[in-house]
Amino acid sequence: MNRFVPMLSMIVTLFCSGLAAADPDYQPYAPAPAAEQVSAPLFVVVAYSLIWLVLLGFVVSVWLRQRSIGLELEQLRRQLDQGGQ
């Protein structure tokens, strides 16, 4: 029971902070005037490029970390085979 009380209090805190954030006088923004409009094709290209870059970056980072761990594993195994010295 003890472990559920902190969880419950966290959920209630999150919910209450959301309630407090909701301003009853809030007015949604109107779309920007035509002069401020930006190029939609450019933004679509940027968004899709970002998705590719972030995913590629993550895969490369995992691959590099995996390679470094593989090298360390190999080194430790060699040390173990040599008698742990």
């Binding site: 954030a21 920007a32 939609a40 933004f43 968004a47 970002l50 895969v59 995996q66």
Partner: protein
């Protein structure tokens, strides 16, 4: 097991060919939404993958915290990192759409703010895991459970409060010709999430093996140094 992984990779590769084709050539460009609406087809699936990852992380954390399962810790670490990765996608594609639709990159709207909080909590999970000291795993697991509790709040925020973010009904009320592109994209991101989780989990397992091997080596070295001295030779 390897066959399943390659099959999954093949499906993801196919998805990355089919989904853009459906999004750009099959789904219509509605005049009231314009071309910028194409971002929606990757933004919503990214958010779905982020929420899924937060729940997977919470599941692993609960298994580690309450049942002391080692795989739970590995799963939670891998999923926490993926929550941040998909969070970056959500928080970059969303503002690009918003700039065109609302005229502003960012608004401190309830939906946007709760997603940002979720993203920060999972960054905190990774930082706690990395720099938390001896209790880092338990601290990170507790934080991950706290973060997952934010997911229902993010989902319900557009229903509970007045917000400028599109409602969740945007999916059910979607133009019928947009549905194939959307659901293929959603499936693609789910499969992509599984592939990334798989490779990240492998990394965590390798790290576990490395730690175990390092401990074995250290124990052997200690045993060697603690070996009783050889009896004196009195000949």
């Amino acid at each position: 097991m390897k066959l399943h992984f390659f099959l999954l990779c093949f499906l993801v590769a196919c998805g990355f060919v089919v989904a853009p084709y459906l999004i750009f050539f099959s789904a219509p460009v509605l005049p009231e939404l314009g071309l910028i609406q194409k971002i929606f087809f990757f933004h919503v699936p990214s958010a779905w993958a982020m929420f899924l990852s937060a729940f997977v992380c919470a599941f692993g954390s609960a298994a580690f915290l309450f049942k002391r399962r080692r795989w739970g810790d590995e799963l939670a670490t891998a999923a926490a990192e993926l929550t941040v990765v998909f969070g970056v996608l959500v928080l970059t594609t969303g503002p690009l759409w918003a700039r065109k639709a609302w005229g502003h990159y960012w608004e401190w709207d309830v939906r946007l703010t709760t997603v940002f909080i979720l993203f920060l909590i999972f960054i905190a999970v990774l930082l706690a895991r990395r720099y938390g000291g001896p209790a880092s795993r338990r601290i990170a697991a507790g934080l991950a459970l706290f973060g997952a509790a934010d997911v229902p709040l993010v989902y319900l925020s557009v229903k509970l409060w007045r917000t400028i973010h599109p409602k969740t009904t945007v999916v059910t009320s979607m133009h019928p010709d947009m549905r194939p592109a959307f659901f293929v994209s959603l499936t693609l991101f789910t499969l992509l999430y599984l592939v990334l989780l798989w490779i990240r989990l492998n990394l965590e397992r390798s790290r576990g093996r490395l730690d175990a091997l390092a401990v074995t080596l250290a124990e052997r070295s200690t045993l060697c140094t603690l070996r009783p001295p050889a009896p004196p030779d009195y000949r």
